[in-house]
Amino acid sequence: MNIRFERSGGFAGLRHTRSISSGELSAEEQKRLADLVQAARFFELPAVLRSSVPGADRFQYRISVETGQLKHTVQVDEAAVPHQLQPLIAWLKKVAQ
């Protein structure tokens, strides 16, 4: 599994990108990642998730996941992250640091 995680926006408007190949992870972390992608029902998420509430200086994420024949990219506003996607983003933020 290959994952690309991008964060843009925020007050400073900085863009951070991190690509992760599951091959570089421990067996335990590989399983953790696969579980998080499955729990997020990632491949069922719409390509764009926008927040409808007003606000400014929030982050915006773009997550691409490729595994086997499946490939999907989701762009999601920080204020619009669905509940089931939050653990995957928390994991990606931790790994991307």
């Binding site: 991008e6 843009s8 926006g9 925020g10 007050f11 400073a12 408007g13 900085l14 863009r15 509430v53 007003p54 606000g55 400014a56 200086d57 929030r58 982050f59 915006q60 773009r62 762009q75 204020a79 640091q97």
Partner: protein, 367 residues
Amino acid sequence: MHPSHHAICSILPPHILRKLAEKPELRERALRAMETTEGFRGVRRALAIMPLAAQAGSKHRTIFDAQNTTNLPGTQVLDEGAAPGNDVAVNEAYNYCGETYDFYQNVFNRNSVDDHGLTLKSTVHYDNGYDNAFWNGQQMIYGDGDGQLFQRFTICLDVIGHELTHGVTQNEAGLVYRDQSGALNESISDVFGSLIKQWVNNQTADQADWLIGTGLFTAAVQGRAVRSMAAPGTAYNDPQLGKDPQPAEMSQYVQTTDDFGGVHINSGIPNRAFYLAATSIGGYAWQKAGLIWYRTLTGSLSPSADFQAMANATVTVAGALFGQNSNEQNAVRDAWSTVGVTSTTTQFRALTAPPRPRAAAAAVRPQ
């Protein structure tokens, strides 16, 4: 309904109507006018402001502590008038928020973000090592920073002024937070964030540094600040962060789907236009250039305004305030032209709001 009364009210801009609506004897008439005035965005909003009416000039700050969670607003730790504690982030959020309130009150006679004394809520210690500050539509939120690249986000007066100004914009032009209108939204927050810093430091336009977020980066970062209004694209150049990506003119406008269409990138263009206008006019930037931008924000600007619309509107407002072809209007027109936006003012002239009668306070900085 009395047609004569209605006719008088309906030519007034929304903020004047809101003021009238605070007076019991005029409230019903003003509400009727607001409901039917083309420039006012919806009856729901007209009704929603009524319970928010507060005493003029009432400053009320409340600071909350999220205790490194993302729960908002968190635990209340400081309320208006209470003695400060030992938490520097709490005290900075309280004090800088107060200076921002004072700036709007003294310079533009504006009572809080909604001009109706709305309580200013701020939450500090949001999340863990969170590298951001934001406005969530209702309040300001500040992270502690990761300590490697960023300090705590309460450390800069202009950052707090920037966030609070997002609330002002939301209550006025309501600029859509995407693409050019989003970049204008960002720029207006930088403009007034910088003006607040200049006002507190009693600096003229040529004395100001025109930098946003000086001191927010740690010493490990190679950069002066997060953004430069005078020279967009030159604020930092760091091995880890890369180079400041802001363009300084329209020919360098960045098309992207990141960051809501590059709102923090392309804001460099209108930021520089303001800097050029303010330094060309000279003196204290909040007195003339700031007043022109403020009147534009609170007057005719539409939520979907682009850079062209902003240029047209500011040139028109400058003409209304200081005279057609005045030095001030020419400075604003030339500033936009320098960044690659040529104003065409005639089509916007009819939409310009009349000057606010109470804005005479803007001419003098109280000391």
